[in-house]
Symmetry: C2
Subunit: 233 residues, 2 copies
């Protein structure tokens, strides 16, 4: 009954059910762009595709629905819920607000090791060429930045928002995206500098600016790529 010191990660490691697996797979497919906005999620098709019955597929869809990634009215097909430009902008606006708050709370609690970890992650980010790995490192940087705040609920919300916006960042894998990734490293460096000298307000402003720049870059790419009938809804 006592909490062991070993940590709680292992307990959930391989206990994944089909439903868990399918939910993750669908999430990745949506974020990766294989399932575009408005794509229909047919339970029978998905069940056959994954080689399971419809039951776990349904549960996976329910979860994605609660996460806001798909829309599923009763007795009607579930469809991937796309974000309009306005809503994309709003997601970043909220992230700026929440992550700024988290940063401000976190800075006073940083110790030397935390700062070094942050710096190291940013160094790796500069050198990483593989896009998927880059995204992971970027997520790790932000997590490390917010962890000392000790605000689990805020982290949940931010995670949820990142989840919703992630598919619109995937486009950075090539072309103009490279400019942005190097810019990101610079902005991260500015953040680290503030954290190091314990400047909470400065760090907050820096992360807010960082997220707003990211928003601008995403919107720019999205508008450019929106030759198709998009943006509405």
């Amino acid at each position: 009954m006592q909490n062991l010191q070993i940590g709680e990660a292992p307990e959930l490691r391989h206990r994944r059910t089909s439903s868990d697996y399918i939910a993750d797979a669908l999430r990745d497919a949506i974020n990766g762009g294989q399932l575009e906005d408005g794509a229909v999620l047919n339970q029978v098709e998905l069940a056959e595709h994954f080689g399971v019955s419809r039951v776990p597929v349904r549960e996976a869809i329910r979860r994605l629905e609660a996460e806001g990634l798909v829309e599923a009215a009763a007795h009607r097909r579930a469809v991937v819920r796309g974000l309009s430009l306005d809503r994309i902008a709003e997601v970043y606006e909220l992230r700026a607000l929440l992550e700024g708050h988290l940063t401000e709370q976190a800075v006073p609690n940083f110790d030397r090791a935390d700062v070094e970890r942050l710096n190291e992650l940013n160094r790796q980010l500069r050198e990483e060429r593989d896009h998927a790995r880059w995204l992971e490192l970027n997520a790790a940087f932000h997590e490390t930045l917010y962890a000392p705040a000790g605000r689990p609920t805020a982290l949940e919300l931010v995670d949820s928002l990142r989840q919703r916006g992630e598919r619109y960042v995937q486009m950075w894998s090539g072309g103009r995206g490279l400019e942005r990734t190097s810019q990101v490293a610079k902005e991260h460096t500015a953040i680290v500098r503030c954290v190091r000298r314990g400047d909470a307000a400065g760090a907050r402003d820096a992360i807010v600016a960082h997220i707003e720049h990211t928003r601008d870059a995403v919107l720019k790419l999205h508008r450019a790529a929106a030759g198709n009938g998009d943006g509405s809804r």
Copy 2:
């Protein structure tokens, strides 16, 4: 194919499935205190209670899980997820942040009719004696305050946070709660005053103060009622 002007409420009115119904019922039971923190959700029991099979019960639980109201590890019983004092405080902290933001965005978009509706709701709040109805009116007041902001995602987040905290407000139904409800009306009046004269920053500060006071009142009641082994987890 065109959007009708009639509105979209009726389309979902009576299309509720068992799963929807059960999810709502469980939510209400959790928020109403019938299901306390740590209560076990046995699928078989619930299915018998509602007179259905386990399938819709499972789907309802998955939703509540995604909403953060219950905790459900694989192959293990789902339990109602209680909030520690720290997490309750955090929920209100986040609400202050988000609702302050929403208010600030909303104020410039208010027209005369919006202000009057807000004022009328506050008037009704002052006179309402039934606690359940009071909670509804209170929710309506806040919704009306934020609607002109045009920020659907932010509203979703706030809804989710209100959902999580609501069960800790139920205690106001009697005793010292009455003091708080009259205080709430006063704070609402201050907010309406700022809205009426278009003072966005003032309205934001007023709503932030309002939510922080609410937090203090909830924490105080919670601490007082916590003679039992509570507070942790």
